[in-house]
Assembly symmetry: C2
């Protein structure tokens, strides 16, 4: 998605350790008009699927998931990373390791919100090593639901998550695929 | 907002300890079409203010904040509850006590996303004791920005947050105000 690549080049900041900060529009401040465009793009990519639910995980995937879901006319369900009194005990649960944050956590969804009739599109802001997506797919599997694929805003294609998922036959659509992040603060996209 | 009261009566579940679960549409599964209606309602209430930014806090306020912000044509900024590598050290920070979750945490926003020119509408899903809103207002104050008020989806009006904020002259618009939650699982709204 050309407009996304341009926005990343204009507003994104590259830091050592392959950190890309896009807090101006994606994961701290949210450019909602732009997120609406991204939602429409995911709808266009997956419009032939009979999606019943969009699944994401706290926190930064939620705005994009909402703007995609509104195009499909279906609800969003977001997996919770943090134990809360508002979550029932009757949950599907899976362990996810975050390399970004250097921790491991349980992602949970209440069983009643996902079942074997559901056809699910996963949406998330970033794909790097793929652990979050694999966790979400595990939750879908536990519910006996069907996953039609993953819509990702930014893929760090130099990490192995996307490759591993695609090799398993999972449809992964990333709107910007970063080939390389350089020490001088620049980055390069994969030319499709 | 009549449609919201009806939705709470239909889908909400009251549990002992004044817990109201609305996970079917507001804070786990998200009914995005309904959130869009709620966003429009906040726009209608605050349309005479020259808002430049909608501020909320992780996690469940984010969808509503996004659908309100798109009506105003401004970005959302969400305060982060959890330390992350993606957040710079150059933050405004405030301590918030959550009675729901029985803990105290630092809420942070990066300084560069809020400044003295900003006119801010706070949006959140719940108002009970008001600590989260007071924390967000403290962040706005630290930035030297102006707060025009708070748009709340559900206010537990039997707790003192809303009263205390309104007594300070803060405009608080709650779309559903719960007067009482009963042991038999029923609840009553304040008649406006």
């Amino acid at each position: 998605m050309k407009a996304l690549e341009e926005k990343i080049l204009k507003e994104g900041k590259v830091y050592p350790g392959n950190v890309l900060k896009v807090g101006s529009f994606l994961n701290h401040q949210i450019d909602v008009s732009f997120m609406e465009e991204i939602g429409k793009e995911f709808h266009s990519l997956f419009q032939n699927e009979k999606i019943t639910k969009v699944l994401t995980i706290e926190t930064s995937g939620i705005p994009v998931a909402c703007f995609a879901a509104i195009c499909f006319g279906v609800p969003v369900l977001f997996a919770k990373k943090h134990q809360t009194k508002n979550l029932s005990d009757d949950c599907y649960s899976t362990e996810i390791t975050s390399f970004t944050h250097g921790n491991t956590y349980q992602a949970r969804i209440e069983k009643k919100y996902l079942n074997s009739d559901d056809v699910v599109l996963i949406i998330d802001d970033f794909l790097a090593n793929g652990c979050a997506l694999e966790g979400l797919m595990d939750l879908i599997r536990q519910a006996g639901a069907k996953c039609v694929g993953c819509g990702i805003v930014i893929e760090k294609a130099f990490q192995d998550g996307g490759k591993r998922l695609r090799e398993q036959g999972i449809r992964v659509e990333s709107l910007a695929r970063i080939a390389k992040m350089n020490d001088d603060g620049t980055l390069e996209f994969i030319k499709e």
